[in-house]
Amino acid sequence: MSQEATTTEKTLISPFNIIAGIIVLIGLYLTVRRFTGGLGAVTNLSDNNAWGIWIGFDLLTGVALAAGGYVTAAAVYIFGMKKYHSALRPAVLTGFLGYALVVLALHYDVGRPWRLPYPFVVQAGTSSVLFEVGACVALYLTVLFLEFSPAALEWLGLKKARNLAVKFTLVLVVFGIILSTLHQSSLGALFLIAPSKVHPLWYSSFIPVYFFVSSIIAGLSMVIFESTLSYRFFADKMDEAHLREKDDIALGFGKAAAFVIAGYIAIQLLGIGADDEWRLLGTGYGLWYLVELFGFFGVACLGFAIGAREKKVQLIRWTSAWAVLAVIVNRFNVSLVAFNYHLPASDRYFPSWMEIGISVFLVTLGLITFRFIVSRMPILYEHPEYEDVH
């Protein structure tokens, strides 16, 4: 306990805390402005551009990058890859915080946030893809909370509750994978209704499949990326198993990601072929599409493949950051760059600094919470009383 106290004291005026503190203050100021002046006071949204980065980044990218939870749970519990077990809790925690932030971000974006439960308690619009997204995100946030609860219960010393929570693991994992399949793909399906507004290279009837498959890429890459950062900043919290397995996890997940990205590139090209849009590749948008597909996803695929074959863990770690960036670029392209491509430049959207400020504020809140939990709960190590009970 005394050691914990000294760490807290020591880090109170660290560079991280100072920067995070400033960001939080700015975020709180912007929050007040948003809820006193309306969306118009802080955003560049317009009647032509109803969705900005709070949807393109906070929702679409946030949910994709939080896919590590279901991907790792599937690998460990469904495919029986027990050697990746130590990746599970950090991934579930990242997923849980990611989804919690997505829901928080939506409170800024929608006009009347307290009505967010309305589709489920007042009047259900089941013909809307957004209804499916909302229902799945709400349920999955609950699933992630329950999947994460054993760590919190171990920390609180509630042995009975913890053992009960662990009993539901497999059911929760299966339920979580179903929900993730549905809403990861539905986030892409949101754009299906507007074929006249999304550039044809990004619009496809396969867009739900693209979003689902790329969420697996994001999940695998985020686990590697997150474990890299955890090792850099929380190595003292890691137990022997986590330190021993982290390179195995990078190699294994990197190899899997190489295959998934290769498949993703293949289905993207199949989609271009199915709609016969090859000629569009010669346009400016086509060039940007090729940069996204080969410059971002292709390079990530190559990096993972070489890293896995040559056992170069460092290469895989760098590649994981690149792959995460690739998924971010894709979500931005679909929701912002390719969206409203037909409108003149003066009617297009670019975020205001305040929109970016809120997004940075929310990510910072996530990092602070992650650090708070990792410093206290058994995430990067096994709780001594529960070793070998998995």
Binding site: G38, G40, A194
Partner: protein, 353 residues
């Protein structure tokens, strides 16, 4: 336009103004084609008659109790800029260069087209929109969450949002004056106000006939295209024009598929995923469990075999050692006996000598 109140009320009764919610059944896999509620109403806008006087805009503002405009409605210089709907205006008239010369400009009305199968209603997750049987698409702000998905979904970019209202922002759009006038037997504000009868209000089926009749009666005046007859599956507002619609700011590349069909197959996949994923996942789980079990059994078996072999080898070695020991013992006894006998023989020889 001339229309008796009695006739109008008759239509309303026929259209059954009960305001039922738009059908929610996805029919992607059928050949069913929805052609609008029977006897539903609409408006035909004939841009060859429009003179761009903005009287309709003023009437719209008045009957819908909208905020006062930035510039007065009789200021026609407003027409020099392209405008779109916003929370202050449910409809606008825009000016475009004429086909003959710029001195004879063309005008076009922009506002809600009241789709037969509206994208906004299909995309709304609280069913704030209703395609009423009258034909009007109405909006209920008392359930609206303000997610603005309808604005993204609308192919005509019509719904607008009160971005400057902090806590109770609403979507704003033309409702064909459903609540304020239609139910009272009155014409929509813009239709009633127009001095040139550019708007014709009536049953959509009748309006299509009227449009075709005008084409027949005035050859060369109109393009052979009634905008809204098929666009996005058909709309309750219909348009006649003498120039291609894209020249007056209307998209001709929208296609004829009703918006709900774009998402229906994706939504239809939901129950399939819910049904098949548990089977698939538990199947993979069972296979991997079984693999673990077999691996464990094989390991145990191999261990048992090795143990048995080692034991057998050890037993053999022990028995061999025993045998050897026994043999050696026998040999030793024999040798001892022999030695004893020899010794005895020596003693005998000595005694005899």
């Amino acid at each position: 336009m001339s229309l008796s109140r009695r006739k109008f009320l008759g239509w309303l009764t026929a259209a059954g103004l009960s305001g039922s919610a738009f059908g929610k059944v996805a029919h992607a896999a059928t050949t069913k084609h929805f052609e609008g509620h029977p006897d539903s109403l609409g408006v035909l806008y004939d841009n060859t008659k429009c003179i761009g006087c903005r009287t309709c805009e003023a009437a719209c503002n008045k009957v819908n109790d909208l905020p006062p405009p930035d510039r007065p409605f009789d200021d026609l210089a407003v027409l020099d800029n392209k405008r779109r709907t916003d929370p202050k205006k449910y409809m606008v008239i825009n000016k475009y260069d004429g086909s003959v010369n710029v001195e004879t400009p063309l005008f076009a009305r922009t506002g809600c087209n009241h789709c037969l199968e509206p994208a906004c209603a299909s995309s709304c997750f609280v069913r704030a929109y209703t395609k009423t049987e009258s034909g009007a698409v109405t909006y209920d702000s008392s359930v609206c969450v303000g997610c603005r998905y309808c604005m993204l979904a609308c192919p005509f970019n019509i719904p607008t949002f009160e971005y400057d209202i902090a806590l109770t922002p609403r979507i704003r759009k033309c409702t064909m004056c459903y609540d304020t006038r239609l139910v009272k037997g009155e014409l929509p504000g813009c239709v009633e106000a127009c001095p040139t009868e550019s708007f014709t209000f009536g049953k959509r089926t009748d309006l299509l006939n009227i449009a075709r009749e005008r084409m027949r009666r005035f050859p060369g005046r109109y393009l052979d295209h009634i905008y809204g007859e098929n666009e996005m599956g058909g709309t309750s507002w219909l348009y006649l024009s003498g120039v291609p619609f894209k020249k007056i700011g209307m998209r001709e590349d929208l296609g004829i598929t009703p918006a709900p069909q774009f998402t229906s197959s994706a939504l239809a996949a939901v129950p399939m995923v819910v049904g098949t994923w548990p089977l698939l996942l538990m199947g993979i789980y069972a296979v991997s469990k079984r693999k673990d079990k077999i691996a464990k059994e094989e390991k145990e078996q191999a261990l048992a075999e090795v143990t048995a072999q080692v034991k057998a080898e050890a037993d053999q070695k022990v028995s061999e050692a025993w045998e050897k020991a026994a043999q050696e013992k026998e040999k030793a006894i024999e040798a001892a006996v022999k030695q004893a006998l020899e010794a005895a023989a020596d003693v005998e020889t000595e005694e005899n000598s």
